[in-house]
Symmetry: C2
Subunit: 350 residues, 2 copies
């Protein structure tokens, strides 16, 4: 199945997200695959057997968020210049979100922009990172603070690559799927409550719907001026959780699961979601072995960290909240005391 992506606002960019067995990819240019040792050990041979091109290179970068920085980007760029890639050359991102973000960013920078294809190999990157064109790296001030909006020319999602994905990472992807359902589509949420994720066809349908929903949002708001912020549901809290735990305790999707539960608690205080709906979301997260508890040690310190987030323009915190299942509300005027009351319910002295 194919989900067509069309971005009206930036010169009518168009590309397809293909959810299927990876087809043979034919290029009449130089191609460089950017990957990491983990995914290449399992799947590089298969990938290379599917690429036809005039000259093929593989650039391997270390696996892990801690290498997602400008230094690694410069290393990749130097390798590509060393291999004499030109303006018509093509990059292929082969890995999870880190590889996708860094390959897209590198493609945007190389001679001011060459084409790239995404082949995401984690559930998280298949449903989330491969659509939307957000590319970039971290620095000492935070995650994804440096980057570009840059769209791939094609995305291929092959669920066979997920067979070697650790169970915990699979679940982390489910958190982003739940996020999309709660924000935008109640019947999709209900489908998620019953579906068997181990069935290939069902999983493809789950991914398809998530990609479709994200594509709709991105189509409306490529540069995140408005509605795209809704994709940060759960993330305002998650970023602080990740920061407090030095990005070591939780996978991003796990922190998002905690953040979703926190956001729902705040939404409930504002009468936007009832107890029963809140519980259904929590149950779905728990069913996928996602964490839903987190002990906040210092409520004031946690609150202050909201302002480190790059989305907090002009010192206002924008909370993305569910408004029943399948709908959302964006609020940037919530009383500090109320937010702290919610945070307190996650602390030891609740």
């Amino acid at each position: 199945m194919i989900v067509p992506i069309q971005l009206e606002n930036s010169g009518s960019v168009q590309y397809d997200v293909t959810i299927d067995r990876l087809p043979t990819l034919v290029f009449n240019t130089k191609v460089a695959v950017i990957t990491n040792p983990t995914i290449s050990a399992y799947h590089l041979e298969k990938l290379l057997s599917k690429i036809e091109c005039s000259d093929l290179h593989v650039v391997t970068i270390p696996d892990g968020e801690e290498y997602k920085n400008l230094e690694t980007i410069e290393r990749i760029l130097n390798e590509l210049f060393g291999k004499k890639l030109d303006r018509k050359s093509h990059l292929i991102a082969f890995g999870g979100g880190v590889i996708g973000d860094m390959t897209g960013f590198t493609a945007s920078l190389y001679q001011r922009g060459i084409k790239f294809t995404q082949i995401p190999t984690t559930l998280l990157s298949q449903v989330d990172a491969s659509v939307g064109g957000k590319t970039g790296v971290n620095n000492s001030f935070g995650k994804n603070l440096i980057g570009a909006f840059y769209q791939p020319t094609a995305v291929y999602i092959d669920t066979d690559f997920l067979k070697t994905l650790p169970k915990r990472e699979f679940s982390a992807g489910v958190a982003e799927i739940v996020k999309m359902a709660v924000m935008f589509d109640k019947s999709y949420f209900e489908y998620l409550e019953t579906v068997d994720f181990t069935d290939k066809e069902c999983l493809e349908r789950v991914i398809q719907r998530s990609v479709e929903l994200k594509a709709e949002v991105v189509n409306q708001d490529e540069k995140e001026a408005g509605i795209r912020a809704v994709l940060n549901y759960g993330h305002t809290f998650a970023h602080v959780v990740e920061n407090e735990t030095a990005y070591k305790t939780y996978l991003h999707g796990e922190a998002v699961a905690i953040g979703i539960v926190m956001a729902n608690t705040l939404a409930h205080e504002l009468n936007l979601i009832d107890i029963e709906e809140m519980q259904r979301v929590k149950d779905l997260l728990v069913k996928h072995a996602l964490p839903v508890d987190y002990i906040i040690k210092d409520v004031d310190a946690f609150y202050d960290k909201f302002f480190l987030d790059k989305k907090s323009a002009n010192n206002k915190i924008k909370f993305i909240l569910p408004n029943g299942l399948g709908h959302f509300k964006v609020r940037d005027n919530i009383d500090e005391a109320l937010v702290k009351k919610v945070l307190k319910s996650f602390s030891k002295d609740k």
Copy 2:
């Protein structure tokens, strides 16, 4: 006077190039001025007196092409994060082409893109670098190999800043002006032959026409897929001259002057321009104290270096040649022997 820039192809980006005394600039956001010690010593006080904003910062980076690299970009980014600029903050490029290219590039990267204004202070950057959205840095493989296409929200050209510009740098800017005239507008060329560049109003008119011509080209071809390549007239040769002299002997505009003469010689071999027109171009360059001679030591080595240029996709050299004054021809099928004959005429054994 105002030259409106409209880029149809990328989401209808629009901004104005204002050629006049610098007006008071009012922002309701944080602002950071990026500049270098040379220009700030002369003009920073004047600039700061013209900016009204909520919070004003100045980031000073070392003057010179050798600092135009990713390391400096990372340093600027870190300073801006340290000053807590947010997504609504605004950068101002205050300096020549290096400052403009790096400020635009930084703006494109900061939280995936914040706004920036160009206030170019050299003739070269006023006529050339401030229009077109090419931003970026050099690396060990060559110039401007890493970057982004990113447009400013406004450009202010105040010729008063040129009063402290060294004469040699002023002339380097004239080379790019001559380039535009030869490629696109014979009557403009004739105006240049007679005009007094020291007269403020005349100089403004000269700059205006050059900006207009460049804007027309960029409007048609923002991402350099076609006609924009014509702006590289003289540059194919100039890049090799700069490379051979390690970027130390000539200012970029001076190398372009040499490159224009070389390109014209090749054009003459192809019967595209006659001796008299060739001489008029040379005379105009010489009148502005620009170099028009260069001794090629090794013709074969010089020829091979054409292929290092990032515009040489698929191992073809694209030559941009005048076709009489005011018109151009793009040729990528010129016989190697003919090119080498022309190069030889610039060598000692001519």
